[in-house]
Subunit: 280 residues, 2 copies
Amino acid sequence: MQFGTVATARASTAGPSTAWTSAAARTPEGWRALPAPDLSAYLAGGGTLGPDTALGELLPHARPIAPLPSPAKVVCCGLNYGEHIRETGRELPTHPTLFAKYADSLVGPDDDVSLAAGTDVDWEAELAVVVGAEIRGADRSTAAAAIAGFTVANDVSVRDWQYRTLQWFQGKAWDRSTPTGPVVVTPDEVDPTAGLTVSCRVNGEEVQRDSTATLVFDPADLLAYISTFTVLRPGDLVLTGTPGGVGTARDPQRFLADGDVLETEIEGIGLLRNTIRLTD
Amino acid sequence: MQFGTVATARASTAGPSTAWTSAAARTPEGWRALPAPDLSAYLAGGGTLGPDTALGELLPHARPIAPLPSPAKVVCCGLNYGEHIRETGRELPTHPTLFAKYADSLVGPDDDVSLAAGTDVDWEAELAVVVGAEIRGADRSTAAAAIAGFTVANDVSVRDWQYRTLQWFQGKAWDRSTPTGPVVVTPDEVDPTAGLTVSCRVNGEEVQRDSTATLVFDPADLLAYISTFTVLRPGDLVLTGTPGGVGTARDPQRFLADGDVLETEIEGIGLLRNTIRLTD
């Protein structure tokens, strides 16, 4: 099944319709409401995503926005696509490389990505995992059972800031830099470990394409590993790393310009289409 | 002035007294209540810390606990003490090295620090800055004005996990690893840029001592820099880095053992006294 957070219109008795958001399920007839203003609130309140989820009213003019607007934790993995690591001549890592970003970094499937002019802005198409249950010190099977679903993300990175120091965080945690969505697809519908095609396009030109089957650490591995040192709770988000083809690794290097259209797609989940805005 | 979050006892009409927490101000007569269950909630609700803060009832048997239990952002700086950097022969950094940890990492001034047996646990005494106003793209003077106060922290680090990969996060973000408190002291009482002595002791033996006057990036510098890429809000916490003397840099290396007592002190702010618990 597919879930998300949607912006819709609600007829107001007091006057014109007002903008309104709701957690929702995508059904053949359209988006149906879940009893929370967004999926973060729905999952935090104990809601689950699956065939037993009770669906409410059909929502008119619903448009998916960032599915998880307020995860307490957004943990990201780097260097996780085997084919890409092998082609660069490196050995496969024995442990995942992890860093954090914030809920403030997240935008929706067709929002602008707003960054500072004069910085080196690069793409990173990624599968993101939505946590659905609280886990601490989980083994692989407990971690797998704690996955609520999968969504698409682009870990857009400000490379000059990322490489100013040894720690990547300051190039990764910019507000409104990370598109997510359009939907959260439950594990019964997609299996990243078996392989989903991840691709990224800039102004229509494909710049990344790989299969999630080549992930060194798959979603269950990552959740189990992270839960060794910090609890994961419903609504937390784990980004699984990007395949080869990023702009900083090209010769010559290539970065995003103001007005560029960035498309990020994962087979069976959906498409993000975001315009880059670089402002002074 | 000095503020904090305290555990106290409230007489219950229904039976025996129940454990209870409150944001509070330390006055000559004792702790007086602020209208929130803790300083995180107080600051998030628009409360300010200063001479105009309205004080409530005197709280009986109050004991300071972690002052900020739920910051949305805990940003940490590494490699920030000039004397220590110079003595290692490195050049002074041009940009702060930043990484993140979580509210789940924080414990109070006399809580146990609970980590996994068999890991390399090290001390890092640090000054922490409490954000008191929302800032984005702040200059130095705006950032300075946004400081609500200062507290003591120990960025206790799991070195073997920190150095498993290039990114330190997984050695820094362990739950219940980072003592904080005992109070938040407002900027009219202490001036870290002029110099406060930071010290750390293990079982009574001094292992770190330096002055915050040698910080390469002082509190206002750090808040301004971070606010360039992500908004800081009331209650967020910024850890400013640790002086020389950590266990991993010693020859031979020295790490903390189960039962060790870690004391972290900053002149004019206070003392943390935490027992290390390493369990399977």
